[in-house]
Symmetry: C2
């Protein structure tokens, strides 16, 4: 269907086989270089293809779009054009980068203008986030958390297997990979204390998540079906939902997580399109009990994407502490978005919907420190001999993700953030 995914494609740009960004990927992002405005780019190998420069040179003249649509500080206007346009643009970029095409490759001045080394580009937030929802859709994660903080015999709340549980999050504090994360202050209360105290979070955690971004709006009062949901989804990013566990424990009853989450979430810069991820679709686990009819779906909507979390102490190398996979989702994206709109809530262009922590069945695949160290009772020992129950000041947390099929690797790059001491 999508020629841009053809595994036999090759580019005239030399690309390392271990790169996340072969010609079959072509994710979109927003970048900036010295003396130039923020603009849309496409990742290819170690380069960013400057879509703004290509647009103004009429390389997309056969597609029905404003040639200045890539001269924007966010992807929102571009993705609002709809799936047929995203597809046409991605296919056209694929054509331009193909080893038998000379429109760019035959023009060394043009190459200089429109191919920017990734190392020289500053990546910015890919979208202006309009609304942000965080789901809670990994069964292993929900069971782990429920076992630890509620009741091992009733780890799941009664609604969990009927509803893709989620909550509204804070859009303003979603930041691009590389942004330092300030350890939050907040209220917490020890189990045996009479009263809470206010001070730096002591149990700072990450949550390994993947978020999808919508590119099509609904009107208030409308709902969409599981069959329609994919048409609303532009693509995916890695998402670190930083969490303050001690704040969360004290504040979250009865209205849910609030300041334990809203101090920051970090996202990876490149939005990998659903089209590029098509080869990685796999069946999800059997849902028992059977979901209500509005949540039933046809086809496969889970994705076999390896996810990895690394922790880097201030002095030291990044060390893998978790290997998980996006396929471990009990509720898939299509069900999540359908549920979100089932009450008539309007979907907007640039909404971000995060998966919730993605944990697999084994301990090494748990997607948070809370689970990896079992609430701090089983610390992780790092290569430098130091121990971690949660995240320390000056630690950097790095998340990576990629799928691989037929020798083609489609990746997300990474999302990273370094924790600074509380103010």
């Amino acid at each position: 269907m999508i020629k841009a995914n053809d595994p036999t494609l090759h580019s005239w740009i030399e690309i390392d086989p271990q790169s996340d960004f072969p010609i079959q990927n072509l994710p979109f992002g927003i970048f900036q270089t010295e003396n130039k405005d923020p603009r849309v780019g496409v990742a290819i190998g170690d380069y960013v293809l400057d879509m703004c420069e290509l647009g103004r040179r009429n390389f997309f003249e056969l597609i029905d779009l404003d040639p200045n649509i890539f001269h924007r500080p966010y992807l929102n206007d571009f993705i609002a054009l709809g799936k047929p346009i995203w597809r046409a643009v991605r296919n056209r970029v694929s054509e331009l980068l193909r080893n038998d095409n000379t429109e760019i490759s035959g023009n060394s001045e043009l190459i200089d203008v429109c191919l920017v080394k990734m190392s020289e580009a500053q990546m910015l937030m890919p979208v202006k986030v309009q609304n942000y929802t965080d789901f809670y859709s990994s069964l292993d994660h929900a069971v782990n958390i429920g076992t630890m903080i509620r009741d091992p015999k009733n780890a799941l709340s009664p609604n969990w297997k009927h509803i893709p549980i989620g909550y509204h999050g804070r859009a303003s504090s979603i930041v691009i990979s590389g942004t330092d994360i300030r350890r939050p202050n907040g209220q917490s209360k020890a189990a045996d204390a009479d009263a809470p105290v206010f001070g730096p979070c002591r149990l700072l955690d990450f949550e390994l998540e993947v978020a999808f971004i919508t590119g099509k709006e609904t009107r208030l009062g409308e709902s969409i079906t599981t069959d329609e949901a994919e048409d609303y989804i532009f693509g995916l990013v890695l998402f670190n939902d930083w969490s303050a566990r001690d704040l969360q424990t004290w504040e979250y009853v009865p209205l849910g997580p609030f300041l334990a989450k809203s101090f920051a979430s970090s996202v990876s810069p490149w939005v990998v399109t659903l089209d590029a991820l098509e080869p990685f679709k796999v069946k999800g686990q059997v849902q028992d009990p059977k979901p209500l009819p509005y949540l039933e779906y046809t086809g496969s909507h889970n994705y076999d994407i390896n996810l990895e979390v690394l922790l880097k102490p201030e002095q030291g190398e990044p060390q893998t502490i978790c290997n998980s996979n996006y396929k471990y989702m009990y509720w898939n994206m299509v069900q999540q978005l359908t549920h979100q709109s089932s009450n008539g809530c309007n979907i907007q262009v640039g909404d971000m919907y995060a998966s919730g922590t993605i944990s697999g069945p084994e301990k090494g695949s748990f997607g948070s420190m809370m689970e990896l160290t079992w609430r701090g009772t089983e610390p992780i020992t790092l290569a430098d001999g130091s121990e971690r129950k949660f995240i320390n000041d000056d630690d950097t947390v790095i998340m990576r993700g990629h799928g691989e099929r037929n020798g083609i690797r489609i990746g997300f790059g990474e999302v990273k953030g370094k924790v600074l001491p509380a103010l």
Copy 2:
């Protein structure tokens, strides 16, 4: 301090003494008339003062602002200019409308252009809502709800008197007064049922709230103090936080209200400035236990503003079903905003922070049907003889608010919405 509040002021425009919009109020909104773009207006009596037309005629030339700042579909750009500018503009409007000023009153052509009858203006959303938080700050409301759905002996969660409890809400579905509200579909489960069902909400409710809008941003990682908070607040609107009680009961554990709220919230069109509300400041109730130091405050930050809810059946007159007051807030705005930023969460221009349902101590002052009918066990009888446990299809809910001091009435107008049957 603020000459625009002087009770001896009079306008050359004739204003009914019962109007919400005397010269001492001057709230800002966005309106539209035939063949003209959406723009900023100021309410005065039965008229809208067209700020866009005044701006282009240089009536604000002594104030440091772009004269086209009022030619916008939202107030965000104007309020981003900061409190000194809002004040200067409001003072200048007061001067122009004063009975001894002839700059407008002496020019009948100009009057025709810049004074629009309210009945001919369509009001639009005053701000593009960037982020939306809903607090839960009325003690009587929290006790009522806790008594009904949890435990009468432990009605308040242990954190309630330490934390201004709140949760992130959905910004996309906040709509302007007059917008019809579609009854949502969703999951609910009867207490004695084995499994949930999906269908139209059966327990549709309103929540009487007041929301404040921020006009100044903080940077991520920064916090503000209770002394600084007022500088961040532009003004207030009435807020109806429509709620689907049956959906809420089934979904809200463990992560809080989600689809029970996100189908719609309605706001009144005129943003009444904090400055205009200054005369109505009153002391809040004593907070015991004493809040943690970051939540302590000086001065008065509650407001004596009468709030009223009316219900209008399809065939019938509006009938008052609740008289409450904004002064019944346990946690005030200044504490709410300080708490929101205490973890470093960044505040943006155009954020909306709703109070939570405002109930007083007596039954007639409860701010939701849930409380007024005590979960449906004590129905309200309307003038037409019909009963209401919750809100029926084709019912219209109207909320009004005003304060009165020294014979001066400062009001909000109203927020109303009619409920349409589920799709």
